[in-house]
Subunit: 272 residues, 2 copies
Protein backbone atom coordinates (compact mmCIF):
# COMPACT_ATOMS: atom_id res chain seq x y z
CA UNK A 1 0.00 0.00 0.00
CA UNK A 2 1.45 3.34 -1.04
CA UNK A 3 0.15 5.95 1.41
CA UNK A 4 -1.39 9.10 0.01
CA UNK A 5 1.05 12.02 0.06
CA UNK A 6 -1.91 14.28 0.76
CA UNK A 7 -2.85 12.30 3.86
CA UNK A 8 -2.14 13.90 7.25
CA UNK A 9 0.75 13.19 9.59
CA UNK A 10 -0.25 11.75 12.98
CA UNK A 11 1.44 13.35 15.99
CA UNK A 12 0.95 12.19 19.55
CA UNK A 13 2.04 13.04 23.06
CA UNK A 14 1.11 12.19 26.65
CA UNK A 15 -0.66 15.53 26.88
CA UNK A 16 0.00 19.11 25.88
CA UNK A 17 3.79 19.22 25.62
CA UNK A 18 3.85 17.74 22.12
CA UNK A 19 2.26 20.92 20.83
CA UNK A 20 5.75 22.43 20.87
CA UNK A 21 6.63 19.79 18.26
CA UNK A 22 3.46 20.61 16.30
CA UNK A 23 4.47 24.25 16.29
CA UNK A 24 7.85 23.38 14.76
CA UNK A 25 6.25 21.11 12.12
CA UNK A 26 3.78 23.85 11.17
CA UNK A 27 6.71 26.25 10.68
CA UNK A 28 8.99 23.83 8.86
CA UNK A 29 6.42 21.92 6.73
CA UNK A 30 3.56 24.37 6.19
CA UNK A 31 1.96 22.25 3.44
CA UNK A 32 1.50 19.20 5.66
CA UNK A 33 -1.80 18.31 7.28
CA UNK A 34 -1.68 17.17 10.91
CA UNK A 35 -3.76 15.03 13.27
CA UNK A 36 -2.70 15.52 16.89
CA UNK A 37 -3.64 13.29 19.83
CA UNK A 38 -2.87 14.28 23.44
CA UNK A 39 -3.44 11.63 26.13
CA UNK A 40 -4.66 14.15 28.71
CA UNK A 41 -6.73 11.56 30.62
CA UNK A 42 -3.58 9.56 31.47
CA UNK A 43 -0.87 12.24 31.46
CA UNK A 44 1.98 12.19 32.49
CA UNK A 45 3.96 9.26 31.08
CA UNK A 46 7.27 10.36 32.62
CA UNK A 47 6.79 8.49 35.90
CA UNK A 48 5.19 5.35 34.41
CA UNK A 49 6.57 1.96 33.43
CA UNK A 50 7.77 0.85 30.01
CA UNK A 51 4.99 -1.76 29.70
CA UNK A 52 2.27 0.81 30.43
CA UNK A 53 3.71 3.44 28.07
CA UNK A 54 3.91 0.81 25.28
CA UNK A 55 0.26 -0.21 25.89
CA UNK A 56 -0.91 3.42 25.77
CA UNK A 57 1.18 4.18 22.68
CA UNK A 58 -0.24 1.18 20.81
CA UNK A 59 -3.80 2.36 21.53
CA UNK A 60 -2.96 5.82 20.21
CA UNK A 61 -1.31 4.43 17.06
CA UNK A 62 -4.47 2.37 16.42
CA UNK A 63 -6.57 5.53 16.79
CA UNK A 64 -4.28 7.53 14.47
CA UNK A 65 -4.52 4.76 11.83
CA UNK A 66 -8.32 5.26 11.80
CA UNK A 67 -7.53 8.84 10.74
CA UNK A 68 -5.63 7.49 7.67
CA UNK A 69 -2.32 9.09 8.58
CA UNK A 70 0.64 8.57 6.23
CA UNK A 71 3.31 8.78 8.94
CA UNK A 72 3.55 9.12 12.73
CA UNK A 73 5.58 11.41 14.98
CA UNK A 74 5.95 10.44 18.64
CA UNK A 75 6.16 13.96 20.03
CA UNK A 76 6.85 12.76 23.58
CA UNK A 77 10.34 11.97 24.79
CA UNK A 78 9.16 9.31 27.24
CA UNK A 79 7.07 7.44 24.65
CA UNK A 80 9.90 7.81 22.10
CA UNK A 81 12.37 6.36 24.58
CA UNK A 82 10.14 3.54 25.85
CA UNK A 83 7.83 2.56 22.96
CA UNK A 84 9.26 3.52 19.52
CA UNK A 85 11.52 0.47 19.11
CA UNK A 86 8.61 -1.85 19.95
CA UNK A 87 6.01 -0.17 17.76
CA UNK A 88 8.12 0.52 14.66
CA UNK A 89 8.20 -3.10 13.39
CA UNK A 90 4.46 -3.46 14.09
CA UNK A 91 3.28 -0.88 11.52
CA UNK A 92 3.72 -0.34 7.78
CA UNK A 93 4.01 3.46 7.71
CA UNK A 94 7.06 5.55 8.66
CA UNK A 95 7.33 6.52 12.34
CA UNK A 96 9.80 8.83 14.05
CA UNK A 97 10.44 9.85 17.65
CA UNK A 98 12.07 12.94 19.15
CA UNK A 99 15.04 11.23 20.78
CA UNK A 100 17.21 10.38 17.78
CA UNK A 101 16.88 13.80 16.06
CA UNK A 102 17.91 15.36 19.39
CA UNK A 103 20.96 13.13 19.84
CA UNK A 104 22.05 13.54 16.20
CA UNK A 105 22.18 17.32 16.63
CA UNK A 106 23.86 17.13 20.05
CA UNK A 107 26.62 14.90 18.68
CA UNK A 108 27.23 17.44 15.89
CA UNK A 109 27.15 20.40 18.29
CA UNK A 110 29.51 19.28 21.05
CA UNK A 111 33.13 20.41 20.76
CA UNK A 112 34.53 19.08 24.04
CA UNK A 113 32.59 15.79 23.73
CA UNK A 114 30.70 16.28 26.98
CA UNK A 115 26.90 16.27 26.62
CA UNK A 116 24.23 16.70 29.29
CA UNK A 117 20.67 15.32 29.05
CA UNK A 118 17.73 16.48 31.16
CA UNK A 119 14.39 14.65 30.92
CA UNK A 120 11.68 12.85 32.89
CA UNK A 121 12.49 10.03 35.29
CA UNK A 122 11.31 7.31 32.86
CA UNK A 123 13.23 8.77 29.90
CA UNK A 124 16.48 8.98 31.88
CA UNK A 125 15.97 5.51 33.34
CA UNK A 126 15.44 4.06 29.84
CA UNK A 127 19.04 5.03 29.03
CA UNK A 128 18.16 5.62 25.36
CA UNK A 129 19.63 9.14 25.05
CA UNK A 130 22.81 7.92 26.69
CA UNK A 131 23.04 4.83 24.44
CA UNK A 132 22.34 6.61 21.14
CA UNK A 133 25.01 9.23 21.86
CA UNK A 134 27.62 6.63 22.78
CA UNK A 135 26.77 4.60 19.66
CA UNK A 136 27.25 7.69 17.49
CA UNK A 137 30.61 8.55 19.08
CA UNK A 138 32.13 6.34 21.73
CA UNK A 139 34.41 9.16 22.89
CA UNK A 140 31.54 11.34 24.07
CA UNK A 141 30.79 11.39 27.80
CA UNK A 142 27.08 11.72 28.63
CA UNK A 143 25.71 13.07 31.92
CA UNK A 144 21.99 12.56 32.55
CA UNK A 145 19.65 14.07 35.14
CA UNK A 146 15.92 13.51 35.74
CA UNK A 147 14.10 16.81 36.47
CA UNK A 148 10.60 15.79 37.62
CA UNK A 149 9.65 19.26 38.90
CA UNK A 150 10.12 21.07 35.58
CA UNK A 151 6.83 19.90 34.00
CA UNK A 152 4.65 20.93 36.97
CA UNK A 153 6.53 24.25 37.20
CA UNK A 154 5.85 24.96 33.52
CA UNK A 155 2.20 23.94 33.91
CA UNK A 156 1.93 26.28 36.93
CA UNK A 157 3.14 29.04 34.57
CA UNK A 158 6.30 29.73 36.60
CA UNK A 159 8.61 29.72 33.56
CA UNK A 160 10.52 32.85 34.65
CA UNK A 161 10.13 32.47 38.39
CA UNK A 162 12.88 32.68 41.05
CA UNK A 163 11.65 29.33 42.46
CA UNK A 164 12.13 27.67 39.07
CA UNK A 165 15.59 29.19 38.84
CA UNK A 166 16.62 27.71 42.21
CA UNK A 167 15.24 24.31 41.13
CA UNK A 168 17.10 24.54 37.79
CA UNK A 169 20.36 25.48 39.54
CA UNK A 170 20.04 22.43 41.74
CA UNK A 171 19.14 20.04 38.90
CA UNK A 172 21.94 21.33 36.62
CA UNK A 173 24.65 21.64 39.27
CA UNK A 174 26.26 18.23 38.69
CA UNK A 175 26.03 18.48 34.89
CA UNK A 176 27.73 21.89 34.90
CA UNK A 177 30.47 20.61 37.22
CA UNK A 178 31.15 18.02 34.50
CA UNK A 179 31.84 20.92 32.08
CA UNK A 180 29.21 19.91 29.50
CA UNK A 181 29.15 22.21 26.45
CA UNK A 182 25.84 20.87 25.07
CA UNK A 183 22.54 20.24 26.88
CA UNK A 184 19.61 18.30 25.40
CA UNK A 185 16.19 19.48 26.61
CA UNK A 186 14.81 15.93 26.56
CA UNK A 187 11.16 16.67 27.42
CA UNK A 188 8.72 18.65 25.29
CA UNK A 189 7.91 21.06 28.14
CA UNK A 190 11.51 22.12 28.68
CA UNK A 191 11.88 24.45 25.66
CA UNK A 192 9.32 26.63 27.44
CA UNK A 193 12.06 27.11 30.10
CA UNK A 194 14.70 27.85 27.47
CA UNK A 195 15.73 31.35 28.52
CA UNK A 196 15.90 30.40 32.20
CA UNK A 197 17.93 27.26 31.40
CA UNK A 198 20.31 29.28 29.23
CA UNK A 199 20.79 31.74 32.08
CA UNK A 200 21.56 28.96 34.57
CA UNK A 201 23.76 26.93 32.20
CA UNK A 202 25.64 29.98 30.87
CA UNK A 203 26.10 31.17 27.30
CA UNK A 204 28.89 28.66 26.61
CA UNK A 205 26.43 25.76 26.73
CA UNK A 206 24.46 24.98 23.53
CA UNK A 207 20.84 24.05 24.23
CA UNK A 208 19.39 21.38 21.92
CA UNK A 209 15.62 21.41 21.27
CA UNK A 210 14.59 17.97 19.93
CA UNK A 211 11.23 19.42 18.79
CA UNK A 212 13.02 21.61 16.23
CA UNK A 213 15.35 18.82 15.12
CA UNK A 214 12.42 16.41 14.78
CA UNK A 215 10.55 18.72 12.42
CA UNK A 216 13.68 18.82 10.23
CA UNK A 217 14.13 15.04 10.36
CA UNK A 218 10.44 14.51 9.58
CA UNK A 219 10.78 16.51 6.34
CA UNK A 220 13.73 14.33 5.28
CA UNK A 221 11.86 11.13 6.17
CA UNK A 222 8.76 12.14 4.16
CA UNK A 223 10.94 13.07 1.21
CA UNK A 224 12.86 9.78 1.27
CA UNK A 225 9.55 7.90 1.31
CA UNK A 226 8.12 9.97 -1.54
CA UNK A 227 5.22 11.18 0.56
CA UNK A 228 6.11 14.84 1.13
CA UNK A 229 3.02 16.94 0.53
CA UNK A 230 3.67 19.37 -2.35
CA UNK A 231 0.63 21.41 -1.37
CA UNK A 232 -1.00 21.17 -4.78
CA UNK A 233 -4.27 19.72 -3.52
CA UNK A 234 -6.31 21.03 -0.62
CA UNK A 235 -8.09 18.13 1.07
CA UNK A 236 -10.26 18.67 4.13
CA UNK A 237 -9.17 20.40 7.30
CA UNK A 238 -5.48 21.12 7.65
CA UNK A 239 -5.18 20.57 11.41
CA UNK A 240 -7.28 18.35 13.65
CA UNK A 241 -6.83 17.93 17.41
CA UNK A 242 -7.96 15.09 19.69
CA UNK A 243 -7.56 14.47 23.42
CA UNK A 244 -8.58 11.70 25.84
CA UNK A 245 -9.86 14.00 28.62
CA UNK A 246 -12.38 16.82 28.23
CA UNK A 247 -11.02 19.54 26.01
CA UNK A 248 -11.39 22.92 27.78
CA UNK A 249 -7.92 22.95 29.34
CA UNK A 250 -6.36 21.51 26.17
CA UNK A 251 -7.82 24.27 24.01
CA UNK A 252 -6.72 27.00 26.41
CA UNK A 253 -3.11 25.78 26.41
CA UNK A 254 -3.06 25.06 22.67
CA UNK A 255 -4.41 28.47 21.79
CA UNK A 256 -1.71 30.06 23.94
CA UNK A 257 1.19 28.45 22.03
CA UNK A 258 -0.12 27.84 18.49
CA UNK A 259 -0.66 30.53 15.86
CA UNK A 260 -4.12 29.11 15.06
CA UNK A 261 -7.35 29.05 17.04
CA UNK A 262 -8.16 25.34 17.42
CA UNK A 263 -10.99 23.11 18.54
CA UNK A 264 -10.49 19.64 19.95
CA UNK A 265 -12.52 16.42 19.97
CA UNK A 266 -12.51 13.98 22.90
CA UNK A 267 -11.65 10.34 22.10
CA UNK A 268 -12.32 7.30 24.37
CA UNK A 269 -8.75 6.05 23.89
CA UNK A 270 -9.08 3.06 26.25
CA UNK A 271 -11.35 1.38 23.70
CA UNK A 272 -8.73 1.41 20.88
Amino acid sequence: MNPDRYAPIGVFDSGLGGLTVVREIMRNLPDERLVYFGDTARVPYGSKSKATVIRYSRQIVRFLRTQKVKAIVIACNTASALALDTIKPEIDIPIIGVVRPGTDMAVKATKNKRIGVIATESTIRSGLYQRLIREADGEIAVFAKACPLFVPLVEEGWTRDPVTKIVAERYLEDLLKQRIDTLIMGCTHYPLLRSLLQEVAGTDVTLINPAYETAQALGRMLNENGILNDGQIEVGERYRFFASDTVERFNAFANSILPYEITTTQVPIESY
Copy 2:
Protein backbone atom coordinates in the same frame (compact mmCIF):
# COMPACT_ATOMS: atom_id res chain seq x y z
CA MET B 1 -27.56 -9.30 51.02
CA ASN B 2 -25.91 -8.82 54.41
CA PRO B 3 -22.20 -8.37 53.79
CA ASP B 4 -19.80 -10.45 55.81
CA ARG B 5 -18.34 -8.52 58.74
CA TYR B 6 -15.11 -10.46 58.23
CA ALA B 7 -14.86 -9.29 54.63
CA PRO B 8 -12.19 -6.68 53.83
CA ILE B 9 -12.66 -2.95 53.35
CA GLY B 10 -11.80 -1.65 49.88
CA VAL B 11 -9.67 1.49 49.79
CA PHE B 12 -8.67 3.29 46.60
CA ASP B 13 -6.69 6.28 45.45
CA SER B 14 -5.29 7.74 42.24
CA GLY B 15 -1.87 6.43 43.26
CA LEU B 16 0.25 6.29 46.38
CA GLY B 17 -1.14 9.14 48.48
CA GLY B 18 -4.05 7.07 49.80
CA LEU B 19 -1.57 4.97 51.73
CA THR B 20 -1.61 7.76 54.34
CA VAL B 21 -5.30 6.89 54.84
CA VAL B 22 -4.45 3.18 54.98
CA ARG B 23 -1.92 3.92 57.70
CA GLU B 24 -4.59 5.69 59.80
CA ILE B 25 -7.10 2.84 59.28
CA MET B 26 -4.49 0.26 60.32
CA ARG B 27 -3.88 2.26 63.53
CA ASN B 28 -7.52 2.98 64.31
CA LEU B 29 -9.14 -0.31 63.23
CA PRO B 30 -6.43 -2.95 63.64
CA ASP B 31 -8.88 -5.85 63.29
CA GLU B 32 -10.07 -4.83 59.83
CA ARG B 33 -8.80 -6.45 56.66
CA LEU B 34 -7.97 -4.12 53.74
CA VAL B 35 -7.78 -4.32 49.96
CA TYR B 36 -6.00 -1.27 48.50
CA PHE B 37 -6.01 -0.21 44.85
CA GLY B 38 -3.73 2.58 43.56
CA ASP B 39 -4.34 3.80 39.99
CA THR B 40 -0.64 4.38 39.32
CA ALA B 41 -1.03 3.92 35.54
CA ARG B 42 -3.33 6.98 35.33
CA VAL B 43 -2.17 9.08 38.29
CA PRO B 44 -2.73 11.98 39.03
CA TYR B 45 -6.45 12.74 39.09
CA GLY B 46 -6.02 16.29 40.41
CA SER B 47 -5.74 17.92 36.98
CA LYS B 48 -8.38 15.78 35.23
CA SER B 49 -12.07 16.33 34.46
CA LYS B 50 -15.03 15.22 36.53
CA ALA B 51 -16.26 12.87 33.77
CA THR B 52 -12.89 11.12 33.54
CA VAL B 53 -12.48 10.79 37.33
CA ILE B 54 -15.99 9.28 37.56
CA ARG B 55 -15.19 6.77 34.79
CA TYR B 56 -11.94 5.72 36.48
CA SER B 57 -13.60 5.49 39.92
CA ARG B 58 -16.38 3.26 38.56
CA GLN B 59 -13.82 0.86 37.08
CA ILE B 60 -12.02 0.68 40.42
CA VAL B 61 -15.25 0.09 42.36
CA ARG B 62 -16.06 -2.78 39.97
CA PHE B 63 -12.60 -4.26 40.62
CA LEU B 64 -12.98 -3.90 44.41
CA ARG B 65 -16.37 -5.65 44.25
CA THR B 66 -14.63 -8.68 42.71
CA GLN B 67 -12.58 -8.75 45.93
CA LYS B 68 -15.82 -9.09 47.96
CA VAL B 69 -15.31 -5.93 50.00
CA LYS B 70 -17.94 -5.02 52.60
CA ALA B 71 -17.40 -1.25 52.33
CA ILE B 72 -15.38 1.23 50.29
CA VAL B 73 -13.19 4.19 51.27
CA ILE B 74 -12.32 6.72 48.57
CA ALA B 75 -8.92 7.70 49.95
CA CYS B 76 -8.39 10.41 47.34
CA ASN B 77 -9.66 13.93 47.81
CA THR B 78 -10.17 14.53 44.09
CA ALA B 79 -12.17 11.33 43.55
CA SER B 80 -14.13 12.00 46.77
CA ALA B 81 -14.97 15.50 45.54
CA LEU B 82 -15.78 14.54 41.94
CA ALA B 83 -17.15 10.96 42.02
CA LEU B 84 -18.57 9.99 45.46
CA ASP B 85 -22.01 11.58 44.97
CA THR B 86 -22.40 9.82 41.61
CA ILE B 87 -21.21 6.39 42.72
CA LYS B 88 -22.93 6.16 46.12
CA PRO B 89 -26.46 5.51 44.75
CA GLU B 90 -25.05 2.97 42.25
CA ILE B 91 -23.84 0.44 44.86
CA ASP B 92 -25.38 -1.50 47.75
CA ILE B 93 -22.49 -1.36 50.24
CA PRO B 94 -21.45 1.60 52.40
CA ILE B 95 -19.00 4.03 50.83
CA ILE B 96 -17.21 6.99 52.37
CA GLY B 97 -14.87 9.70 51.06
CA VAL B 98 -12.28 11.85 52.78
CA VAL B 99 -13.90 15.24 52.18
CA ARG B 100 -16.82 15.14 54.63
CA PRO B 101 -14.82 13.79 57.61
CA GLY B 102 -12.33 16.60 56.98
CA THR B 103 -14.96 19.34 56.83
CA ASP B 104 -16.80 17.97 59.90
CA MET B 105 -13.64 18.29 61.99
CA ALA B 106 -12.70 21.70 60.57
CA VAL B 107 -16.14 23.10 61.42
CA LYS B 108 -15.70 21.84 65.01
CA ALA B 109 -12.15 23.18 65.26
CA THR B 110 -12.54 26.75 64.02
CA LYS B 111 -13.06 29.44 66.65
CA ASN B 112 -13.03 32.56 64.49
CA LYS B 113 -15.12 30.89 61.76
CA ARG B 114 -12.45 31.36 59.07
CA ILE B 115 -11.28 28.11 57.43
CA GLY B 116 -8.66 27.60 54.70
CA VAL B 117 -8.62 24.66 52.26
CA ILE B 118 -5.61 23.59 50.20
CA ALA B 119 -5.99 20.83 47.60
CA THR B 120 -5.48 19.92 43.94
CA GLU B 121 -6.82 22.05 41.12
CA SER B 122 -9.77 19.69 40.41
CA THR B 123 -10.75 19.39 44.09
CA ILE B 124 -10.78 23.16 44.58
CA ARG B 125 -12.62 23.71 41.30
CA SER B 126 -15.32 21.19 42.36
CA GLY B 127 -16.21 23.54 45.25
CA LEU B 128 -17.23 20.60 47.47
CA TYR B 129 -15.10 21.50 50.50
CA GLN B 130 -16.41 25.05 50.32
CA ARG B 131 -20.05 23.92 49.95
CA LEU B 132 -20.02 21.32 52.77
CA ILE B 133 -18.53 23.83 55.22
CA ARG B 134 -21.08 26.51 54.34
CA GLU B 135 -23.91 23.96 54.64
CA ALA B 136 -22.69 22.99 58.12
CA ASP B 137 -22.42 26.59 59.29
CA GLY B 138 -23.43 29.47 57.04
CA GLU B 139 -21.44 31.94 59.13
CA ILE B 140 -18.10 30.34 58.31
CA ALA B 141 -15.97 32.01 55.64
CA VAL B 142 -13.98 29.56 53.50
CA PHE B 143 -10.81 30.44 51.58
CA ALA B 144 -9.58 27.89 49.05
CA LYS B 145 -6.28 27.58 47.19
CA ALA B 146 -5.09 24.99 44.65
CA CYS B 147 -1.46 23.94 45.28
CA PRO B 148 -0.45 21.88 42.23
CA LEU B 149 3.27 21.84 43.06
CA PHE B 150 2.92 20.16 46.47
CA VAL B 151 2.40 16.61 45.12
CA PRO B 152 5.46 16.67 42.83
CA LEU B 153 7.53 18.26 45.62
CA VAL B 154 6.53 15.46 48.03
CA GLU B 155 7.23 12.81 45.37
CA GLU B 156 10.66 14.39 44.76
CA GLY B 157 11.25 13.88 48.51
CA TRP B 158 11.69 17.61 49.21
CA THR B 159 9.35 17.62 52.23
CA ARG B 160 11.69 19.73 54.40
CA ASP B 161 13.37 21.69 51.65
CA PRO B 162 13.85 25.49 51.45
CA VAL B 163 12.32 25.42 47.94
CA THR B 164 9.17 23.77 49.28
CA LYS B 165 9.01 26.37 52.05
CA ILE B 166 9.12 29.25 49.54
CA VAL B 167 6.38 27.56 47.48
CA ALA B 168 4.26 27.02 50.62
CA GLU B 169 4.71 30.64 51.70
CA ARG B 170 3.48 31.78 48.32
CA TYR B 171 0.52 29.38 48.21
CA LEU B 172 -0.59 30.19 51.79
CA GLU B 173 -0.02 33.95 51.64
CA ASP B 174 -3.59 34.93 50.73
CA LEU B 175 -5.17 32.43 53.16
CA LEU B 176 -3.06 33.73 56.05
CA LYS B 177 -3.93 37.34 55.17
CA GLN B 178 -7.55 36.27 55.65
CA ARG B 179 -6.67 35.28 59.26
CA ILE B 180 -7.81 31.64 58.96
CA ASP B 181 -7.44 29.69 62.23
CA THR B 182 -8.01 26.26 60.66
CA LEU B 183 -6.44 24.75 57.51
CA ILE B 184 -7.66 21.57 55.84
CA MET B 185 -4.90 19.57 54.12
CA GLY B 186 -7.24 18.50 51.30
CA CYS B 187 -4.93 16.12 49.42
CA THR B 188 -3.53 12.86 50.74
CA HIS B 189 0.07 13.89 50.03
CA TYR B 190 -0.11 17.06 52.11
CA PRO B 191 0.13 15.48 55.59
CA LEU B 192 3.67 14.50 54.54
CA LEU B 193 4.35 18.28 54.52
CA ARG B 194 2.72 18.74 57.90
CA SER B 195 5.63 20.18 59.88
CA LEU B 196 6.62 22.55 57.08
CA LEU B 197 3.01 23.73 56.67
CA GLN B 198 2.69 24.27 60.43
CA GLU B 199 5.87 26.34 60.37
CA VAL B 200 4.60 28.51 57.52
CA ALA B 201 1.04 28.85 58.86
CA GLY B 202 2.15 29.48 62.45
CA THR B 203 1.19 27.65 65.63
CA ASP B 204 -2.14 29.49 65.91
CA VAL B 205 -3.51 27.65 62.87
CA THR B 206 -4.98 24.16 63.44
CA LEU B 207 -4.09 21.73 60.65
CA ILE B 208 -6.81 19.22 59.77
CA ASN B 209 -5.76 15.83 58.34
CA PRO B 210 -8.78 14.26 56.59
CA ALA B 211 -6.98 10.88 56.54
CA TYR B 212 -7.13 10.70 60.33
CA GLU B 213 -10.73 11.92 60.49
CA THR B 214 -11.76 9.42 57.80
CA ALA B 215 -10.39 6.47 59.77
CA GLN B 216 -12.51 7.61 62.74
CA ALA B 217 -15.63 8.10 60.59
CA LEU B 218 -15.09 4.71 58.94
CA GLY B 219 -15.22 2.99 62.33
CA ARG B 220 -18.53 4.71 63.14
CA MET B 221 -19.97 3.81 59.70
CA LEU B 222 -19.03 0.12 60.04
CA ASN B 223 -20.51 0.04 63.54
CA GLU B 224 -23.81 1.64 62.45
CA ASN B 225 -24.08 -0.94 59.64
CA GLY B 226 -23.32 -3.84 61.99
CA ILE B 227 -20.27 -4.86 59.97
CA LEU B 228 -17.42 -3.85 62.29
CA ASN B 229 -14.90 -6.71 62.43
CA ASP B 230 -14.60 -7.97 66.02
CA GLY B 231 -11.41 -9.81 65.15
CA GLN B 232 -12.68 -13.20 66.33
CA ILE B 233 -12.06 -15.00 63.06
CA GLU B 234 -8.86 -14.88 61.03
CA VAL B 235 -9.70 -15.21 57.33
CA GLY B 236 -6.99 -15.10 54.69
CA GLU B 237 -4.47 -12.31 54.28
CA ARG B 238 -5.04 -9.19 56.33
CA TYR B 239 -3.76 -6.65 53.78
CA ARG B 240 -3.70 -6.93 50.00
CA PHE B 241 -2.35 -4.26 47.61
CA PHE B 242 -3.09 -3.75 43.93
CA ALA B 243 -1.92 -1.14 41.39
CA SER B 244 -2.56 -0.45 37.71
CA ASP B 245 1.07 0.20 36.74
CA THR B 246 4.02 -2.07 37.45
CA VAL B 247 4.62 -2.38 41.16
CA GLU B 248 8.31 -1.66 41.91
CA ARG B 249 7.85 2.05 42.65
CA PHE B 250 4.60 1.38 44.53
CA ASN B 251 6.27 -1.12 46.84
CA ALA B 252 9.22 1.17 47.52
CA PHE B 253 6.94 4.06 48.56
CA ALA B 254 4.52 1.83 50.50
CA ASN B 255 7.30 0.17 52.45
CA SER B 256 8.63 3.61 53.40
CA ILE B 257 5.38 4.76 55.03
CA LEU B 258 3.64 1.57 56.23
CA PRO B 259 4.70 -0.50 59.23
CA TYR B 260 4.42 -3.71 57.17
CA GLU B 261 6.51 -5.07 54.33
CA ILE B 262 4.03 -5.42 51.46
CA THR B 263 3.83 -6.96 48.01
CA THR B 264 1.58 -5.66 45.27
CA THR B 265 -0.25 -7.22 42.32
CA GLN B 266 -0.77 -5.40 39.01
CA VAL B 267 -4.37 -5.15 37.72
CA PRO B 268 -5.44 -4.25 34.13
CA ILE B 269 -7.93 -1.70 35.43
CA GLU B 270 -9.05 -0.50 31.97
CA SER B 271 -10.82 -3.82 31.44
CA TYR B 272 -13.09 -3.45 34.50
